[in-house]
Symmetry: C2
Subunit: 514 residues, 2 copies
């Protein structure tokens, strides 16, 4: 047998994502610019919202150098968020799989990867360090210059500096260079910002692009949605590993305490009923469970029918009012209706779907429906046709039933918020078609579409009436004149009151009121 | 400002993929059965082929327990591959991001994740250990019982045993339990095996399913495709990090040596021309390059127009003959044509596309074309519509031009082999639409479709002729009889020779010969 030497080795997580950066969306220079801006902006928004600070974010992308070989850019992003505690700065920016996003809480970031991937990509394309300035609002501002040791997955601190912070400024500034292609990415980046403004109408965003053009998205409200809470795991989503981990750290001495302390929405009553169902004594010490007991416990948790559904109070949907205001601001439609669905859950993770439909105004009228997808307030712009919302809009809804024709300027807006959005890729491009999620979207789309149909029917009948009256208004003066002549009178009758009823219809282009 | 405490923490790669197992294809009990069988089978095939051993693989899936809550299965897979050296067994099965797949070589495994994810999934659903028996053909057989410490990403050795190996057996046996849903996954699993047999017609596969049914895919040839070679990185795919890593380990004292020693297809001539292009002195010591020099070097490498394209001799396509035999065996078509494209490359990675089209026989005749996708000899069954081959078949080819109608039983087979298949997910479900890859597929499909058109035209005209002759054969005896009567003769003329020409057409259903 022709032996070939096989080399076994361990690689670090940083090395893994360095080798497979396509997985995180850093596929080519154009996608890299997009992903860099997007990941940093999302982190900044998270850092503001979690602390209820109306975001004030400034992004500047400037061309560092350009030759026939490659284009290098420098990005600077500044936010007024909560800042990063100094002891965490090196790892938070220079170590993959390190961060504050590994909790059950609705945040934009899911994998704790994006921002670091941007820094890593900058390093591997320009071999320069990242510059970070941050303060949590204490009397000090911390400055770091970092690089990543990719093979070891550890930050290398090149320089560190502490300055006084008289104004108690809080926030984070990040600056580094990377190779990209802004020209190709521009349209997507502007669209991304526009859509971000749509779902975060309480944020001020300023973007200065490499050509010096200024894009400014101004807040229209100071009202932030309520911040999401961190929750305990729901029994439906728990496996043996989770149970073992909890057993390792629990202070409970019996199963009743164990169930009520460590799981979401399990009160004394539910816990007792469940333990009976699982054939476990409430007085058993959790530390004494055998591996087989843990397996049985995990299975029982997934199958017990009487757990309360996950509580969505930990979620922070945009809300009808804010979402409508955001869409109005960016699309200025003739008609808009938004519905927030009731909370639902998949495998123990709560989620809420918000659906909107808009007509006319600046809604692009292309063939088909313009789909705007959002997840935890992130606009999703790539791989549309793999997304559950696309599936619903294009294969589950009979639009003709709602009087929608392909040439109409219709926008469909779908927002999903969850403690765990079921993304199918690390790059957060699209959402899996979990049946529960698909169902909620479908119901939401049907409801708003029924309201759209009412609007369209009325619009169509009014359009007909208006055409009829238009004809009328053209001939009425002539008839009046003719009738006057026939009657051999001098003065024509006043036709203005009659024409007035036509004007009533002219003004119809506003939103229907409920 | 309402402060919320943020908890920063580091998680291990095992923990990351445990938390995000959807990314690796372990989404639900049904997908888990599929992914488990698939990942283990692919590892076994790799272990055989890399050492030119005709694979002999045995898989048994048996139901361990079943209640109203969940179904537990035990999997046992045995191969005659090269075996795993004993010192690597614990980490190879119990540590994420550890393995032998992190080289530039065409293998099924890409991420070094799948097999371990299967073991990890077994552990978190049934909390039991994995049992491994392996020998590299030495005088010893090693047995391990392992679990994974997910939080630390380290294997835990529960038991270890050494036995003598008189027969010099080599191979690996893996056995563990996991929670799954075979009933739902069955159709996909059988389809997966069938398609694997199609592209690996030199393998014997035996599968015994939980109902005791035996599926056997027998080899039709002992001829294995030539094994893939490991290659050096091609200059087009190199970034600053790679250059730095090479500088750290190189023994070269000048750039000319550096270029010719560490990169794919760079000879002395090319190296000299390149160094002139990059404005670097051939005598410079690589260890003295500044960071800026490395950046300039990386950019120059990507832009120098005269590097030789990657050499595809490191690749191992299936080959026209083997692929055709495989398809014939599984689909038994009336017509088949296979084309192997010339080697091409994207970002420095060589790849070869093989395209086949088959008509009739057991090709499923549903609406549209049955697409069979393969990458490095792995059948891809999920998320078809996100794949580049689907895009080509459904949006780039005008099938009517090739006389193909939607009701026809047509199968399109696309195989891509590469040192790095551009998957878009860790679960290896579909391939990105890299322009170079898309183009090669499109050209391949057009070429085989032209041949298909010839076949279909001939088939259509023969069909017409046959119908004409059918009518003829129905009336000829009557005409003969009538003519005989008219001529007042007793004996009818012999019409058999005339009807013979009809039979000639009856036999047309075989493949056209070139």
């Amino acid at each position: 047998m022709a032996q070939q030497r096989e080399v076994f080795m361990e690689i670090s997580p940083a090395d893994f994502f360095y080798r497979n950066r396509d997985l995180a969306g850093f596929t080519n220079p154009s996608r890299a610019v997009y992903a860099t801006i997007r990941e940093l902006l999302e982190n900044s928004l998270d850092a503001c919202e979690l602390h209820r600070i109306p975001p004030e974010i400034y992004i500047r992308l400037s061309q560092e150098s350009s030759n026939d070989k490659a284009e290098t850019y420098r990005i600077r992003i500044m936010d007024n968020g909560s800042g990063v505690p100094p002891e965490h700065i090196p790892s938070a920016f220079g170590q993959i799989l390190y961060g504050s996003k590994y909790t059950l809480k609705q945040v934009r970031g899911t994998f704790g990867l994006g921002g670091k991937m941007a820094v890593l990509y900058g390093q591997i394309t320009t071999h320069s360090s990242v510059h970070i300035i941050s303060s949590t609002g204490t009397s000090r501002i911390y400055e770091f210059e970092l690089m990543i040791d990719i093979q070891k997955n550890r930050p290398i601190i090149m320089k560190k500096d502490v300055k006084s912070n008289k104004d108690k400024w809080h926030g984070t500034i990040i600056e580094f260079t990377f190779e990209g292609d802004y020209t190709k990415a521009m349209a997507k980046i502007i669209e991304y910002m526009k859509q971000t403004a749509m779902v975060a109408p309480y944020a001020n965003l300023t973007f200065i692009d490499p050509k010096g053009r200024l894009y400014r998205y101004t807040r229209i409200t100071d009202k932030l949605p309520p911040p999401p809470d961190e929750i305990l795991p729901h029994p439906y989503g728990v496996d043996v590993e989770t149970i073992q981990r909890i057993i390792n750290v629990t202070k409970c001495r019996d199963m009743l305490c164990f169930m009520t302390t460590h799981f979401h929405r399990v009160g004394k009553n539910t816990a007792e009923k469940f333990l009976e169902y699982a054939q476990l004594d409430g007085k058993t010490d959790p530390k004494r469970l055998t591996p087989d007991d843990s397996v049985a416990l995990a299975q029982a948790m997934r199958n017990f029918p009487d757990f309360l559904p996950p509580d969505a109070s930990c979620l922070s949907p945009i809300g009808r009012e804010l979402l409508e205001a955001g869409i109005r601001k960016e699309l200025n439609p003739d008609f808009i209706i938004v519905e927030q669905r009731k909370p639902a859950a998949y495998s123990g993770y709560p989620f809420i779907v918000e659906v909107g439909v808009a007509f006319g105004g600046e809604v692009p009228s292309k063939t088909g429906i313009a789909l705007y997808r959002f997840a935890n307030r992130i606009p999703l712009l790539y791989d549309e046709s793999s997304d559950v919302a696309w599936k619903v809009a294009n294969t589950k809804v009979n639009w003709r039933h709602y009087k929608v024709t392909p040439d109409m300027p219709i926008a469909l807006i779908v927002h999903i918020c969850s403690t765990k959005v079921p993304y199918k890729t690390v790059g957060k491009e699209f959402i899996a078609d979990r049946p529960e999620v698909e169902n909620e979207i479908l119901r939401g789309v049907r409801n708003v579409s029924r309201r759209l149909r009412l609007f369209l029917s009325r619009k169509i009948s009014i359009e007909r009436e208006r055409q009829r009256l238009n004809v009328f208004s053209r001939y009425l003066p002539k008839i009046a004149k003719f009738a006057t002549e026939l009657a051999e009178k001098e003065e024509e009758p006043d036709i203005k009151p009659l024409l007035g009823s036509i004007d009533r219809f002219r003004s119809f282009s506003e939103n229907e009121e409920e």
